[in-house]
């Protein structure tokens, strides 16, 4: 692989953070579930995700010259590897459909109720297709440009919200049973932390192989911190009862921000910046999807297929999760368990195979 096409480890951290943080605070479903004990589930979910990441990095380190798809070919053989990659393709299709739906539902609920969501999803997909078309280095640079704006916006919001938090919302601690906390951890592992698994396919693109683990962990921890802070602020500002029932709890708490008496209702600005940020998640998914599709079908020239992939994304997003309840049901009851296969089991299998191969030789 040409050196120009690689990204630095610092860029990897940025990409990981923005990929994880885009949607993570939209529903805060585990916060609604666990309330003040949500930090535990975040901690556990994050630890599990770090473990998963370590497995992926371990596999990558053992095969420094191969990309993850090639490694899977080598370890599983061609046909099994195809099957494995197909699982990831389906996983990513699901994730992006959920993301598109979440974004369009959010907009139609809060900002522009009469906008047809198909039109919105189509626009989103067109944007992400363009980004995918431009390639990873461009995406990463764009992330670097937008990240400071997002961070500044969020910091200002957090600062103003923090003034409204009067009693520690994480009290009383340890009020939920072990199974509840574990279920919450599972939820947070599925969304957002487990999403990180797709970065396994991008690890080979990083210049400094040694730092892939530390830099992605850095991004992951930052994302977890952001999630934790927003959960804290949400519970602290709009109250525990309301946070449990609000559809978009963090948004509701952002509504509370006001600068003095004059300037309030500034959430639209934040939504604007946040929208750009969420697109990066879909972009990364679409990009990795393109990589996998190229490998599965052994396509030489991928450029003509990018728009069709975008259209596939559009169709799958447009046909799935027609109701918000569908999405909630999927997020709470199906996905946390079904996505364990790509998030946990396959990385484990990959590392076991690597270990076995190593012992043989």
């Amino acid at each position: 692989m040409a050196a120009q096409n690689k990204i630095t480890h610092g860029q990897l951290s940025c990409l990981v953070f923005s990929y994880l943080s885009g949607f993570s605070t939209l529903f805060l479903s585990e916060a609604a579930l666990l309330k003040q004990d949500v930090w535990m589930s975040y901690l556990i979910g994050m630890t599990l995700a770090i473990g998963m990441l370590w497995l992926l990095c371990y596999v990558q380190w053992k095969h420094p010259l191969l990309t993850m798809v090639e490694i899977s070919d080598k370890l599983f053989g061609h046909w099994v590897s195809r099957l494995v990659l197909m699982i990831y393709l389906i996983y990513m299709l699901e994730m992006q459909a959920a993301a598109c739906r979440a974004l369009s539902t959010f907009y139609t609920t809060v900002v522009i109720p009469n906008m047809p969501s198909n039109q919105m999803i189509l626009l989103i997909i067109l944007c992400t297709t363009y980004a995918t078309y431009l390639g990873l280095t461009t995406i990463v640079r764009a992330v670097q440009i937008t990240l400071p704006f997002f961070l500044v916006g969020i910091l200002i919001i957090c600062f103003f919200l923090l003034r409204d938090v009067e009693t520690n919302p994480f009290l009383p601690q340890f009020q939920h049973s072990f199974s509840e906390v574990m279920y919450g951890s599972l939820l947070s592992l599925y969304f957002p932390f487990g999403k990180l698994v797709v970065f396994g396919f991008l690890l080979a693109r990083v210049k400094n192989m040694k730092k892939i683990f530390s830099s992605s962990i850095f991004g992951l921890i930052l994302a977890a911190l952001y999630l934790l802070v927003s959960a804290y602020l949400t519970l602290g500002t709009i109250g525990i009862h309301l946070a449990g029932t609000a559809t978009f709890p963090f948004f509701s708490s952002i509504q509370m921000v006001k600068f003095g008496e004059y300037l309030e209702r500034i959430e639209i600005t934040i939504i604007g910046i946040w929208t750009i940020f969420t697109l990066f998640e879909i972009v990364v998914l679409q990009y990795v999807f393109t990589i996998l599709l190229r490998h599965v079908f052994r396509i030489k020239n991928m450029k003509p297929f990018i728009l069709p992939i975008g259209l596939l994304f559009f169709i799958s997003a447009q046909k799935s999760f027609l109701r918000l309840s569908d999405l909630t049901f999927y997020n709470l009851n199906i996905a946390p368990f079904s996505t364990m296969l790509p998030i946990a089991i396959i990385p484990i299998m990959l590392s076991i195979m690597t270990l076995l191969r190593k012992e043989k030789t």
Binding site: P113, P172, G239, T245
Partner: protein, 399 residues
């Protein structure tokens, strides 16, 4: 050469891609430019700045009243003037009534700038849940707007003129702003109310709005004073001004941070009025032998007025005065709290939250009989007052 060719190929592919994208986006844009269903032109709107909701128990009908602002004229020569206009409609649900408004109004009503929601006494008593549900579900209504319960029907209050001849919403906003100088009225945001409303253990105090008639004036005036008590998601009664002040003192910091209030009390043979400002507040609960609550308040104060001569330049007098003020406030707080505990039996301060947060284990046992225990909880109020300023003149001199 090879590289150039490749570049050319990719260039052509890019051009194709670009054209496809351009055509697609142009199609999309021309189809939709400016004709989205969500567009509201400023020239077509009526800005709702206060809303009233009434409920008639007999007919089970809601009356929805909007206080709107409209530009006075349609010519641009005379800009800058807005006129107010009140419109109401009734229906079997709030939304039904609100939709019926559309038939009476030639403008698009916009609630996003609505700051005041006034709920009639009957509505607060009989259908508060539905009202709250409507409020927090609707995207146009801000969760930061204030909720007041009106004595009498809300629609009547919205039809009143203000004494300053200003717009009603501006007048109300000014009154809410003045709350911090007085402390006898309270404004509670919908967000807080929605959060507390479903709590089975605590109640809360919302604002109260009423007509007040002065003897020296023929006109009635709107006044914000006192509060309304809610418990178990229902309105249960009014709160007088003194009790509201205590609620302020014992609430979250945002309620007392900027609050200054004055109290008069007898001292020696004189009557003294002091300005108070709360510096520190802490409410702690204990559950050693039965639940107890300790309240510590420390206030700074300025001498406001003295009825007769008092040697306030002497340290002794000041210390005595401080003591007197402290005991006066302690008694006041005790009096109000016993009213909350014994007469109303509503946990308006949120002691239940405190127990839940700090003694979760004990709370598990407490919560089942909370309504029996709450009136019996002993509350200790400790107030320390520091008089740090005397004003421009120390005293007027003895007769």
């Amino acid at each position: 050469m090879l590289r150039n060719e490749k570049k050319e190929v990719s260039c052509i592919a890019m051009m194709r891609m670009n054209t496809v994208k351009i055509i697609l986006s142009i199609c999309l844009l021309t189809c939709t430019a400016g004709c989205s269903a969500d567009v509201t032109e400023i020239s077509d709107i009526a800005l709702v700045t206060a809303t009233g909701i009434d409920y008639d128990k007999k007919t089970k009908k809601y009356t929805f009243t909007s206080y709107c602002l409209l530009p006075t004229t349609t010519s641009t020569a005379n800009t800058g003037k807005l006129s107010d206009w009140v419109v109401s409609a009734s229906g079997s649900s709030i939304l039904d009534a609100a939709k019926k408004l559309r038939s009476q109004v030639g403008k698009t009503l916009i609630w996003q700038h609505n700051k005041f929601i006034i709920i009639g006494e009957g509505a607060a008593r009989y259908s508060f849940y539905e009202i709250m549900d409507f409020m927090i579900r609707n995207r146009q209504i801000r969760i930061t707007s204030f909720l007041f319960v009106s004595k009498g029907r809300a629609v009547n209050l919205l039809h009143m003129n203000t004494e300053t001849e200003d717009l009603l919403s501006n007048d109300l906003l000014g009154k809410v702003r003045n709350e911090k100088d007085w402390g006898r009225s309270i404004s509670q945001s919908i967000q807080n109310i929605a959060n507390w409303n479903t709590d089975p253990y605590r109640g809360f105090v919302a604002g109260k709005i009423s007509k007040s008639r002065h003897s020296f004036k023929s006109k009635d005036a709107l006044s914000l004073s006192g509060g309304s008590v809610f418990n178990h998601g229902k309105w249960v009664g009014w709160l007088d001004e003194q009790d509201v002040l205590v609620v302020h003192l014992l609430s979250d910091k945002s309620k007392w941070k900027n609050l200054t209030f004055s109290e008069s009390f007898p001292f020696h043979d004189s009557n003294v009025t002091l300005h108070f400002k709360l510096d520190k507040q802490s409410i702690q609960c204990r559950d050693t032998d039965g639940p107890t609550v300790d309240i510590h308040l420390s206030l700074t104060s300025t001498v406001g007025e003295i009825e007769h001569y008092l040697s306030v330049d002497k340290l002794d007098t000041i210390i005595q005065l401080e003591h007197a003020a402290s005991t006066f406030l302690e008694n006041k707080i005790k009096h109000s709290l016993s009213h909350f505990q014994k007469d109303l039996n509503v946990d308006v301060i949120g002691f239940s939250d405190l127990f839940y947060q700090h003694y979760p284990k004990e709370w598990a046992a407490l919560k089942h009989k909370w309504s029996d225990i709450y009136p019996t909880i002993p509350v200790q109020a400790h107030v320390t007052v520091k008089i740090d300023k005397l004003g421009l003149n120390q005293y007027l001199g003895d007769h």
